[in-house]
Symmetry: C2
Subunit: 607 residues, 2 copies
């Protein structure tokens, strides 16, 4: 099916919007009135520009307050409409969107509405265009899709059909039963289909619609369910995104258009309209790569955490540090020194790296060169929206390139020399990555669509200097967990923290070993422990141990979570976590205390 | 009456918050639980720090989910409470806030709630503290102030009283009748009064409360009306601000605390608790001062607009340009060259400059030195939140310093030499000033409280690269109008536009004269005029004139507005406006087209 996007969904001038839509692979656009009015291009020039870009103009929108009016007002409305129909024809489009009236002059009279919409359609027909009538969720008398359809049906004019909009329909009712009436509409009378999602917010629907819409798969509405209903009618017009979103309005049009197209690709897959390579969910974190201008501070932390430097890359200044199943690459390559110490790449265990990369490419993930340097194993890799490189690794599977093959082991002697007194292994529990402000929704959709991870609920956390929002994306079994975090407003990206949480079966032992090996842990205020004592009961001495070490504690309906933090090197710090009894969270209730402690400890060694 | 502020209302560490509250003149603070938990200071150290800063600790908050619980749960709740009462005592406070329960375990049983609150109060009394019980607007069974009071009254314990919170009360009902029950509460049983305002938003009350509260006078709730009811009870505790606001969370604590204190000063004045010098509303714009590193581009625009350079400052490189009642100072002083061309100061006509300055100072406006250079007239001046200097001018009134006295007139010959062919005068219709992102609400309150201007409704405007919000503050007669504008997210302040709208009785003649004098006007797309033709009826040739010149058109219920724009120099551009028949707006419907045209014209001469 053809894809289309309303120009209002993208930022910039009309020319910038059209270029971005074309580059992201859209087939057509809806031209939003203000974009036309503000453009120096004539309608004919816009049409030609679209043709050059391989875009059709699928819709002009919106015409408002047209129906169920006193005759004198309707005459004025027809005058406006005549101009817009003429304009639509000049744009080379064949359909004009008419929204249900919000005018205080509109009367509650379906027969009059039908009669006037019929006359409007006759005028449209004279101009060679047709009218798609849509119920706004806040329409004065007509606010539901089935009501709008009854009026269209009563008008009975061939140039009059209906437009269905997923936001207007789903924002009024979450009941799947309410969608069944879509099946009563003949597909050829559905002149247009506009798609948008939205987070589930209990707020005035007009404000919700104008500021918080997002692309399908980024919110909480069942857009795919609605689409399935529409497809059963035989509708074969475009799938068109119409999204009003304050963040998208100020984001670069190019990435937003790609994000939009990706959302439609996922939606088409869900609705059975497309079958990209199936997701090959990752099976674990094979490695995490840090880049740094100076290996010493990171190495000191890793050493104290019980990691051993076990191997070195054959061709590049990259060391492999390992403890149990946790593997950290420390890269001091010259190209990477600019931004200080940061997390640059993640190796994800994959049952089928080639299939994972095929899906990623089909879902518009930027594919990275398979072999970045002579002698590197030819690994499949893509870039996430925040620039993190994701490698699909089939470690140890015969016949497939192995990232370990790039590394030469140190002798046991050297390896042992750097090993601390740590018995048990570690594994990566989760990664927490601060996202660029404009790309939070895009990042969640990317991880869902490209990697097959499942987004969890968003959580707000109070930092002393502003609210943070975070959302985890995980595999069903929890072997891969990535927490995406964003601040309340855009700030310097290099200030953004990234952290690696390492799971242990005994966080107290791990913390003690870390301290004994010369490491430091984030000091947590005594007041926190006094409060813990009032909230929970602990075994004798347990709380004193946490207090002594700086271990934080949380409990949910499933289990308990104990965790502590190293100091920060560049953008990166480590967390030691002990997750017991099926605890599902990430210690969010403790985050305000942790964040305040990190602010207070700025200057804390190495920070 | 004493003033207090909840630490949650300010950004930063607890120490930073306390310092900011003290510097802004607060008498006390409410300590919010998370601020205590995250602080490295012991409760005793916090108490001492407050004492050093001249602050009392008026409240510890909050204790939640305490009442109407099954006995076993209540026993656990008492255990938590014991810890908090002890903590409150260590902080040197005498009152703990208890919010009405939102627990799913709470039962709908007022008698049980009263009985348990009585036991809680008895425990508090043992610790030398008392309990202020407050109805949350979203409380499970108890959500109104009168219901909370009935339960407190039934409990009948001397250490149990109620806390009234303006947000929780006014967010549930805008009906003044619903406040009358406050008179039934004995003042001594109102243990605490928390004040917050909020914009009128139709959204889930919990989200509204947690993210959008603001200081009294910044929103749409009648906080003053509520306060008058409370004062009639005999309440003599603190007036305490408790504001949860996403913007304040990331703003510097110092200015936020001053903004907060100013809001209480205005509120106290409204409630008859304080009588600062009465506002002396400005009578007009005496002058606007631009600073620029290079006078030529601005002079060229002013010359083409028909301004004449009539005088020069006796001691500084400042020229006075004048046309009719519009006076613009162009300052090329060396200290001002850094930031390019910008609007730096406004002279406001004042019936009593000394009284205006006294009020400004009483309302915490930064007072500027009266005489900035030897020989300057000793003018009263203050700084607005965005740094704009506001001078109070009594031009021509005998015995008062006159800003014109600093200027020496040019000879008529030179003056005439620069005058264009412009007959009618101009006057300043309005100034539009983009505000620093964090200070939008503060700016509106400042102009209201300090200058006695009246804030109008906020308006959202779509810029191609993001939404803008704008709000006008005006005198009742419209002689002074300032439009405060803010972007959707923080950006580089120096990118922010400032504009001076000049009123004429004939914008077409003024525009033609400007072009004839070599000026340029912002080109407006033809599509805009095609649309105007469909929306309005015009006299023969009228629309063609607008199209030719780039004049925009708007109409409201009162009259019409015609306006056009010069190009931009630095941050500054000029608008010519013709306001007929009592039109009240600022052409907001045309703003998206104008903003897009300005983006398109970047590089337009001088821009």
């Amino acid at each position: 099916m053809r894809t289309s996007i309303a120009t209002v969904s993208l930022s910039g001038s009309l020319t910038e919007k059209l270029t971005a839509a074309s580059r992201a692979g859209f087939d057509g656009v809806e031209i939003f009135e203000n974009d036309l009015l503000a453009s120096p291009l004539t309608p004919e020039e816009i049409r030609a520009r679209c043709a050059d870009l391989g875009l059709t103009v699928d819709l002009y929108q919106p015409l408002r307050d047209m129906e169920a009016l006193p005759e004198e007002e309707f005459a004025r409305a027809l005058r406006r409409a005549r101009h817009k129909f003429e304009l639509t024809r000049r744009l080379g489009a064949d359909t004009v969107l008419v929204c249900s009236s919000v005018s205080p002059h509109a009367v509650d009279d379906d027969a009059l509405a039908a009669e006037q919409l019929g006359r409007l359609a006759a005028l449209a027909e004279d101009h060679g265009v047709r009218v798609a009538y849509e119920a706004l969720a806040w329409g004065r008398h007509i606010s539901t899709y089935d009501h709008a359809w009854r009026v269209v049906e009563a008008a009975g004019h061939p140039a009059l059909g209906t437009c269905l909009d997923s936001f207007h329909i789903l924002s009024r009712s979450g009941d799947p039963k309410d969608l069944e009436g879509i099946g009563d509409i003949p597909g050829e009378k559905i002149f247009f289909l506009q798609l948008a999602d939205a987070p589930l917010l209990a707020m005035d629907v007009l404000q919700w619609s104008r500021h918080y819409r997002c692309f399908p798969g980024q919110g909480g509405l069942d857009v795919a369910g609605l689409l399935r209903h529409v497809l059963r009618t035989g509708y074969d017009g475009p799938l068109s995104l119409e999204v009003f979103n304050d963040v998208f309005r100020q984001s670069e049009a190019g990435p937003t258009a790609v994000d939009a197209q990706r959302s439609l690709l996922l939606l088409k897959e869900q609705a059975g309209l497309a079958a990209p390579p199936a997701p090959a969910a990752p099976t674990g974190v094979a490695f995490v790569e840090l880049v740094t201008p100076d290996a010493a501070p990171v190495s000191a932390v890793l050493g104290a955490l019980g990691f051993t430097r076990t191997a070195r890359h054959r061709g590049k200044p990259v060391d492999l540090w390992q403890r149990g199943d946790a593997r950290i690459l420390v890269n001091t390559g010259p190209a990477e020194r600019r931004d200080g110490t940061r997390l640059a790449a993640v190796g994800l265990g994959s049952p089928d790296p080639a299939a994972a990369a095929d899906r990623a490419e089909a879902l518009l993930a930027p594919v990275l060169p398979r072999r970045r340097a002579p002698g590197d194993a030819p690994l499949e890799a893509v870039a996430a929206p925040d620039g993190t490189e994701l490698f699909f690794c089939a470690a140890g599977r015969p016949g497939l390139p192995d990232w370990r093959a790039d590394f030469a082991d140190f002798t046991d002697v050297e390896a042992e020399a750097t090993a601390g007194d740590h018995d048990a292994g570690l594994r990566v529990d989760h990664l927490s990555l601060t996202q660029p402000w404009h790309q939070f929704d895009e990042a969640a959709l990317f991880h869902r669509a490209v990697l097959g991870l499942r987004p969890q609920e968003s959580v707000d956390v109070a930092d002393p200097y502003g609210l943070l929002r975070s959302r985890a994306v995980t595999t069903d079994d929890g072997t891969v967990r990535i927490v995406l975090t964003v601040g309340a407003a855009p700030v310097d990206d290099t200030a953004h923290a990234q952290h690696i949480a390492l799971a242990t079966d005994d966080v107290v032992a791990a913390a003690r070993a870390h301290l004994a090996a010369g490491g430091e842990l984030l000091p947590i205020p005594a007041n926190y422990y006094d409060d813990l004592a009032a909230r929970f009961e602990f075994a004798d001495g347990e709380l004193e141990t946490y207090r002594e070490l700086g271990v934080l504690y949380d409990r949910d309906a499933y289990g308990t979570f104990r965790h502590c933090y190293t100091h920060t090197v560049g953008r990166v710090f480590f967390e030691l976590v002990q997750r017991d009894g099926g605890y599902r969270g990430y210690g969010a209730p403790n985050a305000p205390v942790r964040l305040a402690a990190q602010h207070a400890a700025r200057g804390f060694t190495g920070g």
